[in-house]
């Protein structure tokens, strides 16, 4: 399991390095035509970093392919891989969706109301597994109060102009 993830990481890094060198750097880094020396070109540094990435990935791949059948001390020292958990992976996916929604809502309904909804949604996501009724009530109260307190601090003490809801402006 451990060796597999290292092989995936190594292979992924090599592919990413090749992608950087072959396509991304030539297309996404603008270099003036009059650069006399390659070392001073804006392309030079990203190319060097891409080569380092490739070396790191290839090294990782080589180390784990040659020693794949045998356990290394690294494998033994590190924490065991996370146990497979369908509900856990599902919660991770839902978290991703909630974060996307939170980001979108900040612009749509303001940071305070978006935070109230996001707080409640994330708490509900975690609450199913371990929480008591008292904790649920505490969560709902915090979901309401915490964004307001943060709004008071950042909006009025720190003087930050926070995004507001189009339907209700906080003082």
């Amino acid at each position: 399991m451990k060796a597999n993830s290292a092989i995936v990481l190594g292979a992924g890094t090599v592919v990413f390095s090749a992608f950087l060198l072959a396509w991304l750097i030539p297309n996404a880094v603008v270099s003036p035509r009059n650069v006399s020396n390659i070392v001073l070109s804006p392309l030079f540094w990203p190319q060097i970093v891409a080569v380092i990435l490739g070396i790191g990935g290839a090294g990782l791949l080589a180390v784990h392919l040659t020693g794949r059948a045998r356990a290394t001390s690294e494998d033994m020292e590190e924490a065991p891989p996370l146990p497979p958990s369908l509900s856990g992976e599902l919660r991770v996916l839902v978290s991703a969706a909630l974060m996307f929604g939170y980001f979108w809502l900040v612009s749509a309904i303001g940071i305070v109301f978006a935070s109230m909804l996001a707080y409640a949604a994330f708490a509900v996501l975690a609450v199913r597994a371990v929480s008591s009724r008292g904790e649920v009530i505490a969560v709902l109260i915090t979901a309401f109060l915490l964004p307001l307190l943060l709004y008071a601090f950042f909006g009025h003490v720190a003087g930050v102009s926070l995004p507001q809801a189009p339907f209700f402006r906080l003082p």
């Binding site: 919660r91 935070s115 720190a158």
Partner: protein, 503 residues
């Protein structure tokens, strides 16, 4: 100008109720955050950073330093009481702290941990005060080639010791360097990885990257397995450490403080290796070595002295050279930048009073740590019982407000979330995030110094070997790589031998 020249102005900066209050609040917040399983000193400092934007520089930086100091000690409380280190630096404390708690001596373990932490903290602060200025004076003679080799050396150590694999550290550092190239080119002003997005022209916001990398993955990991962060705390028991205990551990505490100060001053090593080195040295030299690992009070004292011994010393490379010694000081660099200050040798000349005010504040923080730590030990049960279902969503909301507050832009929130998922994938693949963040911070400096050196020499690489300082850093870099490769090969051989003998 020396400390004595700056002392009156420095005292005037610290001797204000707002500065002292900021430091005290920082220590208290750090201790509580470090004591909460699942939180860490790094996360606490990252989350406290946005609250310092509206403060004057001295108060803001003192608050963060307080969080740092408190967080490192706070991590020892759950390490001893529930066998869960609050911070990675407290991992060595578990070895003897938890067996003591099982014997009903948790109170004794925690009080010696506090005393060892405060003593080592003072040693570390004194090391900072004595050596930072000297190093800064030396660094004034550094030019671009010297800074380039210094940063290269720092990145090599950070990549090598941050995780269990040099190659994963290298990949992490390279990704950080790559991300640092986003924005306008430093010499020609042309676009690099901007993709037509004007918000990317100035590069990625450092605070969004660091909060994304260090706070969001913890939230995602909690959401994946909410029950994982629960733990049952042992009771404190009736016993407390006596002065005789402290005297018995004194040599180990002083040794741990000195080791921590030396290791903290080397960029990249950090508190966890220092704690383990201090612990193993104490075990090697102690007459009670057979008792180590079974609840030996000297083991707790040595581990805590080792990890707190780095807390002041990590600021030596930060303040004197502008190179962060570990992830937390990398975050603290953000507070300097937000206030328009650039850590490095010139800081002593341009803002000497501020630097020495921080030194005075650090000495004060050891006293506050003693006071706050004594209270936190008694009330740990309440701290540990903060419902995690309320805590982690709260951390997320704090992250969003904090990141937005830096530049008043929603784009930074998107960057934070994106980096959070990058950090989570790295966590799952066992890639350490510390080299990523430090390479991201040092990347522009590394590239800028390299290109300046090339401009100075007409693109001749010989300039990178122009002085004894560059030779010293090249030699240190090669030595570090050789030592890391050798130790990796040795571990591999040992693992193979044990697998073969088992078969």
């Amino acid at each position: 100008m020396s400390f004595l020249d700056h002392a009156p102005a420095a005292f005037a900066l610290v001797a204000q109720w707002s500065s002292i209050l900021a430091l005290f609040i920082g220590v208290a917040v750090g201790t509580v955050a470090g004591a909460i399983p699942g939180m860490s000193a790094t996360m606490a400092v990252a989350l406290a950073l946005p609250f310092t934007f509206a403060m004057p520089p001295v108060e803001g930086i003192l608050l963060l330093l307080g969080v740092y100091k408190g967080g490192i000690f706070g991590g020892s409380i759950p390490a001893i009481l529930i066998r869960t280190p609050g911070t990675p630096a407290s991992s060595a404390t578990v070895l003897d702290g938890y067996p003591m708690a099982e014997r009903g001596e948790a109170g004794r373990a925690l009080t010696i941990a506090l005393w060892a932490s405060c003593t080592a903290d003072i040693i570390s602060n004194l090391a900072l005060i004595f050596f930072a200025g000297q190093l800064a004076r030396l660094a004034l003679s550094f030019g671009p080639p010297e800074f380039f080799t210094l940063i290269l050396f720092s990145l090599t150590i950070i990549a090598g010791v941050s995780g269990s694999s040099l190659l994963k550290g290298l990949i992490s550092a390279a990704l950080g360097l790559l991300l640092a190239t986003v924005g306008l080119d430093l010499v020609y002003g042309t676009n690099r990885f901007v993709f037509g997005e004007p918000q990317l022209m100035g590069g990625l916001n450092f605070i969004a990257v660091l909060i994304g990398l260090f706070a969001i993955p913890e939230i995602i990991a909690f959401m994946r397995d909410p029950a994982k962060h629960e733990g049952r705390a042992r009771s404190l028991g009736a016993s407390r450490a006596s002065f005789a205990d402290y005297r018995r551990c004194f040599v180990s505490i002083i040794r741990g403080g000195l080791l921590g100060s030396v290791m903290g001053a080397i960029p990249g090593i950090g508190a966890a290796p220092s704690a383990f080195l201090s612990y193993s040295e104490a075990r090697r030299r102690s007459p009670n070595r057979a008792n180590f690992g079974r609840g030996e009070i000297e083991g707790v004292a040595a581990a805590e002295a080792g990890n707190n011994g780095v807390a002041g010393a990590t600021l030596i490379p930060l303040l004197a050279l502008g190179v962060p010694g570990d992830v937390i000081t990398a975050i603290i660099i953000g507070a300097f930048m937000v206030h328009g200050l650039q850590p490095g040798p010139l800081l002593f000349a341009t803002n000497g009073s501020l630097v020495y005010a921080l030194f005075i504040g650090l000495i004060l923080s050891s006293i506050f740590l003693f006071a706050v730590g004594s209270v936190a030990i008694r009330f740990f049960r309440f701290i540990a019982e903060v419902p995690k279902v309320a805590l982690f969503p709260g951390v997320l909301v704090l992250c969003v407000f904090g990141v937005y507050a830096v530049n008043n832009t929603v784009f930074d929130i998107a960057v934070m979330f994106a980096m959070g998922w990058v950090g989570y994938v790295m966590q799952r693949l066992g890639v350490p995030p510390a080299p990523f963040l430090i390479a991201f911070i040092l990347g522009p400096l590394l590239e800028d110094n390299f290109r300046q050196a090339m401009l100075m020499s007409g693109s001749s690489p010989v300039i990178l070997f122009r002085s004894w300082i560059t030779w010293l850093f090249w030699a240190a870099t090669l030595f570090t790589i050789a030592a890391l490769v050798r130790s990796g090969l040795r571990e591999r051989r040992a693992a193979r031998a044990s697998t073969d003998s088992a078969a």
